[in-house]
Point group: C2
Chain length 306, copies 2
């Protein structure tokens, strides 16, 4: 069976990611919780209060059941059917406000009918947007995509812009990245294609983050910058609880709450009508949290846009 292949591959990827993130932090290791519920089982790995990582979560799960109507809605599919799902998802909240939040997810769904698909992505949420880091991040994602299909990066970058968006704030969650869903497995070749693609993404994830974190893990910061970090974390909470399909699917499918909500930051703040000062780094960040920014060629783009 295909599906147990995917589950085993993803489980191994979870281990690999955790090993690399422990090396990156250098101070604290992951705690492991194996859990089992009627609908399935999983391994939750959590690292907190490290040297540079304040909270990193890496979840692996394999579940199956019958789709409720709420789950169909969350998944945006119409079939009433049994389902099998496995995936790895991870999020990292750094200590330093000058380092970004990162999120990665790869997942595989199979319905009782045999219809199956992959989804996933990586996206970055800097508290302070740095254009050259953003360019490098998108460049690295493009290189992985291009190995599989010359159209993937453009299509999946657009999907990330559309998905990681807070309409009530008119802000993107961060600088996006790539996001894809419902990439249907129509034959064995496609199955191997997507399993390899999602595996490559999961493998690249800790490597990409290491470069970004190491740049700023020891950067000096002011208390006002820490406050800004907490406000941006508040926006992250808003996205995850109001819009994130994984969160909705997890809660609707009676998943393990403590694993699903591990994506939430350690702390978050809300301040009424907080407006950054004109021409500040915070104001610049807000101005860049828009859909459709061409991070690969921002210089030319920004002349037009700003």
């Amino acid at each position: 069976m295909h599906k147990f292949n995917v589950a085993d591959t993803y489980k191994a990827l979870q281990s690999e990611i955790c090993t690399k993130l422990e090396q990156l932090d250098g101070q604290v290791v992951f705690e492991t919780d194996q859990w089992a519920k009627p609908l399935g089982k999983g391994i939750t790995k959590i690292l907190t209060q490290g040297d540079a990582i304040e909270k990193a979560a890496v979840n692996y799960s394999v579940v199956n059941g019958k789709l409720s109507s709420a789950m169909q809605h969350a998944l945006n599919i119409e079939e009433e059917d049994g389902y099998f799902a496995t995936g790895v998802s991870s999020i990292i909240h750094p200590q330093n406000p000058h380092a970004p939040i990162i999120h990665m997810n790869v997942r595989y769904f199979e319905l009782g009918s045999g219809k199956a698909w992959f989804g996933g992505g990586i996206d970055l949420t800097p508290h302070y947007v740095n254009e050259s880091d953003a360019k490098e991040f998108h460049q690295e994602l493009k290189e992985i995509c291009d190995k599989y299909d010359a159209n993937y990066y453009t299509a999946f970058k657009q999907e990330a812009d559309d998905y990681f968006y807070l309409p009530h704030r008119e802000e993107t969650r961060g600088i996006g990245g790539i996001f894809f869903d419902h990439r249907e497995v129509i034959n064995q070749e496609k199955f191997e294609h997507f399993l390899a693609f999602t595996s490559d993404l999961a493998k690249a994830y800790p490597v990409i983050y290491a470069a970004l974190l190491n740049k700023n893990r020891n950067a000096p910061f002011k208390s006002t910058e820490k406050q800004w970090q907490n406000l941006r974390r508040g926006r992250y909470v808003e996205f995850n609880l109001l819009y994130d399909r994984g969160t909705k699917f997890g809660l609707e499918s009676n998943g393990r709450t403590e694993s699903i909500l591990l994506s939430l930051p350690p702390d978050a703040s809300w301040v009424y009508q907080s407006e950054p000062q004109a021409h500040s780094a915070e104001a610049k960040t807000l101005a860049l949290l828009k859909k459709g920014v061409n991070w690969l060629d921002l210089d030319r783009e920004s002349e037009v846009r700003l």
Copy 2:
């Protein structure tokens, strides 16, 4: 027209509530924002970093438009129609973890068809549940209800238990209170009945809170108790963003985001699998955050339950 009557009454209640809360805090006064959007207008009042109140918000708004399907879903009604809505909603987050969070809302809806209804309620979310305070709080709500209908308290207390509930945590948001919705205005008498009832609730709200806050505003507390307060605030965020109908309706109707999300606490925390110590005050609080607790007669109840 009825509806402008309600809007004027609610606007005056907003002022009255703010005056009383300023007297209660004694140190900081409300800031006022008048706003206007295509769909309507409102007044947002916010008090922050007071002597005893960390954040109090009192919103008044009067809006109208056409119901989108998402709004119909949020309102739990089936009609496609134009709507008029006005209401006052308020929330108070105290500085001291031994004082409770409180929330009050009264609202009036009228559809283009002429169908109209009232809704509202008051509910309390103590960071630490104190049974005698809880009894007193419910007793005061029952007295207001009983002036209008001998069945209201029991019915609306049950509705509050059902509504202010986090299924993914298997916890009530707090000790409940009363909640009612879709109380239809079938004649002039009913209109006056519900306008008086909702006005009485709004008037009682700052008085009820004053007693609760004054009891504990200067109570000593440890840093671990402040951390517990932040965890409970995290649960409050979860409820408001995942389940609250007012929040959903507000965001879906393209309302004023900063006013809608004023219910969120100044700060909140999430800690993976945080479990209070056995027999601690925190553990006692968690054990009491259940549906169906008879706060008016807890002693007898608790013998059965615990």
